[in-house]
Every structure is written in C-alpha cells, then in structure tokens.
Amino acid sequence: MKKILEKWRDPERRKYFYTYFAGKVIGLAALYVFYNIVKSHFGIDSVWADDSTMPMGAAAAAAAPAAAAATAAAAAVPAYVNPINTVWVLVTAFLVFFMQAGFMMLEGGFARSRETVNVMLEGIIDTCLCGVLFYAWGFAWMFGSGSGFIGNQYYFLHNIPDTYGSTGVPTLAIFLFQFAFADCTSTITSGAMVGRTGFVGDLLYSVVVSGLIYPLLGHWTWGPDGWLNNIHPAAFHDFAGSTVVHTIGGMIALAGAVVLGPRIGRKFKRDGGGPMPGHDMTIAALGTIILWFGWYGFNPGSTLSAMDTMGIARIATNTTLAAVCGGISAMFYVYPRSKVWDCGMTCNGLLAGLVAITCPCYWVSPFGAICIGLIAGVVVVWGVDLLEYLRIDDPVGAWPVHGLCGVWGTWSLGLFATGAYGAPTPTGADNSAGSVVTGLFYGGGLNQLKAQIIGNAAIGGGALILGFILMYAVKMTGTLRVSAKGEMEGLDIHEHGGAAYPELTTGS
C-alpha cells in the first residue's frame, strides 16, 4: 500500500496511469458501442428471441399476413410513396454531392501548390468519414424525434419508416440528401485551416464537426421537433441552410483559423504584408462554377417536392439572380480601391450571393434575391478586410463567404420575405394565410426578423463556442498544427509523401 502511494506521488507514474486508464475506458466504450451495433442490427435480443419462444407454426402464421402485404407492396409503388418527389430528391442529392468537387477545386486553387494533395485528401476523407458518421448517429440526432435539442431515433438507420414524415419520399433518399449537406459543413471548415493543419488533427475535428456539432445544432431547426420551430411569435425559418450548413461551417472555420494562428510567413496588411497568393486561379474559378451548379440541387432540392412546381422554379431563379448579383457587386466594389478586376474576389462574391440566398430562396421575389445578392457581394469584401485587420489567416475566405454571408442571408429573410409564400408540401405549395412568411419590407413587422436573429444567434453562437472547445481540445492533443519544418516543406511532402505536381514543383 505504501509503495503504491509512493509511486502515486511521482508525476511521471501518475501520467502513465492516466494514459493507461483513459485507454482502457476508450476500449471499453468501443466494445460497448460495437456490442450495441451488433445487437441492434442482428436483433439478437428482440426478434430472434421472441420468435424462438413461439412454436414454429405460430411464428409462420404470424409472419404470413406481413409477407402477403409485402408481396402486394412489391407489385406496385405503394400509395404513400411519391415517385416524382423521390426522383427529385435523389437527383438533387447527387447535385449537392457534386459540390464536394467544387469545394475541393476552390480550396485547392486558393491554396499554395505545396499543400494541394492535403486539400484534396481532406475533401475526400471528410466525405468518407461523414458518410459513416451520418449513418451511425448523425441522421439519428438530426432527423430523429427526441427532444427539442437532439434527436434520438434511427441509429444506424435502424427501424426507419419507409417514407420520412409526410414527405412521400423514402427515408433513405432523405438520408442521402442530408448526408450531402452534412458533408459540405465539414469541408467548409477545412477551408479556413488550409496549409498548416496536421492530418491527424484534421481527422479528429472532422469527426466531431460532421458527427456531433452539425447534427446537434441542425436538429434545433430541421429536426421534426426542433425548438427553433416553436418560438413565438414567428418561427425561425431556414429553407436550405444559410444557418444550418453555412453559418455552422463558417463559424467553426473561424474558430479553427483563430486557434491555429496564421501560416508561417503570413504578414497582414497593417503589418505591411499581404496574403499568400493561391497557386491556380483556373481551378479555383472552375470550383466556383461547380459549386454554383451544385447549388441548383442545394436550394431547389430542399423543397423535397417536385410537385411544388412554382416553388422549385422560383428557388432556382432566385438562386441564380443572387449569385450573379453577388459576383457583380463584389467585382465593382473592389475595383475602385484596387484598380484591377479581381477574379478571386468575384468568385467569392458569387459564392457569397449563393450562401445568402440559401435561407430565403423560397420566400422572396426575384427582386428580393437581387438585393440580397448585391449586399452579400459587399459583405464578403468587408469580411475579408475584417479578418485581415484582426490578423486571422483564412486562406480561402471560408468565414467571410459562409459564416458572415450565412448570417446576412438568414437575417435577410426577415427583411425581404414577400408574404406570398408559405411552405412546400408533397403535392404543391401551401400558401395559406397561416403559413406565409412576411418580412419587414413587406409589412410583416419585426417578428420574422427577430426570429431569424434569435435562430441564427443560437445556432451560429453554438457553433462558434463548440468550435472553439473542439479546436482547443484537438490542439491539446498536439496534432492540430504540423511542425514548422513540415509547414515550410509543404504538407504534401510532409504528410502525404509526394507533391501534387511532382514534375513542376521543387517544393516552392
């Protein structure tokens, strides 16, 4: 006993003990989770156990009506499934998924050539991790019923209904669609952390962002019983995710960039320096246009209904108008002070318009979309300037585009909602007086604006706080940032063993 106490006083020994103990606990937890997966999936305790206690004949008799029903269902599409809505959701899910290519190209082009492989692999592995996590519990927390704060249903897609809610769309199609959204969030985050994040650190924060923060905060408004849907006098509205996807991604990105610190050699404007230019504007511009294309799935697909024909046409048009106006206003806003026509800023302005219109796209008129886009193009330039002033190094502008314009877009609904549109339903639009959304400029008063600010502050603030906790936690493991040597050498060589363009680069 005395000996143990003596050993305990030795800090080195104590450290060993904590390490071992933590390892055992993690091991036990993993075992428990694994046991539950196996149990729930193969129904060890429920289905098999019940059946085996029954006489064989009784079991068969009980199964017979169910089998007959299944055969009838297989013969034709069941009445509760809406075929055109299903196809619509799947096609738009594929479009949203393709945005991943856009993000990778945009971030790759804005990064230096020495970290291009790292950006590509981050984009790919974020997608892979997100798929597994969203299957395991992301979908359950976000779209299952539970409390107002977190869902608690459909773990591992277990016990899911054929169609989700009243949508008439198979739950698995909804799952795929929402997985593509979750994937975007995690990739947005990596944008601000390009060039100096260690790969292990990247894996760790990706798991938490797409496996924990996004489903948790997303449930607050998109979950079937999210608390932001029930605030008074007006409910918070986020049609396609200015807040849920973009503000969350942008705020965690900001936390990441702050905790990481700037890249080595990055000097800021007020210190007499400037940004490190990216290596490939061709690829960055291509990525921008791919993202724009993918946005035609992101926004119109969020109706989950192709039968709301007026709705999807209006959304697609609004999306386009906001994007073009964002690009125009950013380009002309930057010109007078720099005397050059800046492609990178125009790309960001265009994306800013898209991010901003994501929330209000269903409820505003085309003219409203134009105003929202024009303002977004200016807001994004302010965001870039602000980060430069605060000495925060965001290589691709993830926070100005997604974080700041996500906030602007969410608020804009409270200003520009026309009061003519309500909500999409599986068979058309519901524009009844009770469900329409009216903003300040259309005589709706401040109620909707208040709801938007509350919802955005709750989710965006939550993302910022959780983001800082997450990034500091990853930093404490020592894996968040690569060594100075690795950073100077380039992440491609240091982390991945080869350059993106081995024939062209010499490690510059």
Partner: protein, 113 residues
C-alpha cells in the same frame, strides 16, 4: 569571344528574337528566371488584398559571339527591350576563353559560326 547575357522583360522575348534574326546571331540560350533589382519587387493583388511579390519573373538570354559582333548585338538588344520604365533589365558582357563544337571538335571562333 564574348558572352552577352541580357535580363529582359519576358514579353520582349519574341520581339528580340525577330530583331536578332535581322542582325544575325549564331545561337541563343533562354531561361526563365526570378529576381529583383533596385525596386525590390512589386505589389500584386490577391482576392481583393494587396501583397508584395519580391521576386519578379524575368527572362535571361545568353548569346556567345566573336568579339566583332558584340557591338551590333548589344545595340539591338538595348533598342528592342527598352520601354523607358523601371524594370527593363540589364545587359552583361563577359569574356569567354574558348568554345568547342562537340560534333567535330573544332574550337575557337569557328565553333560559333
């Protein structure tokens, strides 16, 4: 035998080639280089924010000629490559001891022609 080295603006290369073609020259070596002079680089723009580029892209040409041809070549180079603004570049002339044509083994001025 002299070596003429000229640091010029990259966009002047084609004009220089045409001018040298008229004057006549044995052969030319061209390399893309980076560097700076008295100005210590220039300011460029990236995503709406200015940054300083310390090393500029320049083109270096090297021509090795008999002593008699040096004057007319340097005259042609300076004339073609001059814009009158900062960054036009410089011409350096240095002595070369010998030249040997690998194919035949000839040496001296013969090897240049």
């Amino acid at each position: 035998m002299k070596k003429i080295e000229a640091i010029i603006r990259p966009e002047k290369l084609e004009a220089l080639r045409l001018a040298l073609e008229e004057v006549g020259y044995p052969g030319i070596m061209v390399s893309e280089i980076k560097g700076h002079g008295k100005q210590r680089g220039v300011t460029h723009q990236w995503r709406g924010t200015e940054y300083k580029e310390y090393f500029l892209s320049k083109t270096k040409i090297e021509v090795i000629v008999p002593d008699s041809q040096v004057k007319k070549l340097t005259a042609a180079i300076t004339e073609v490559c001059r814009t009158g603004t900062v960054g036009d570049g410089k011409v350096f002339v240095s002595s070369v001891d010998d030249a040997i044509r690998i194919r035949t083994g000839e040496s001296g001025d013969v090897a240049l022609s």
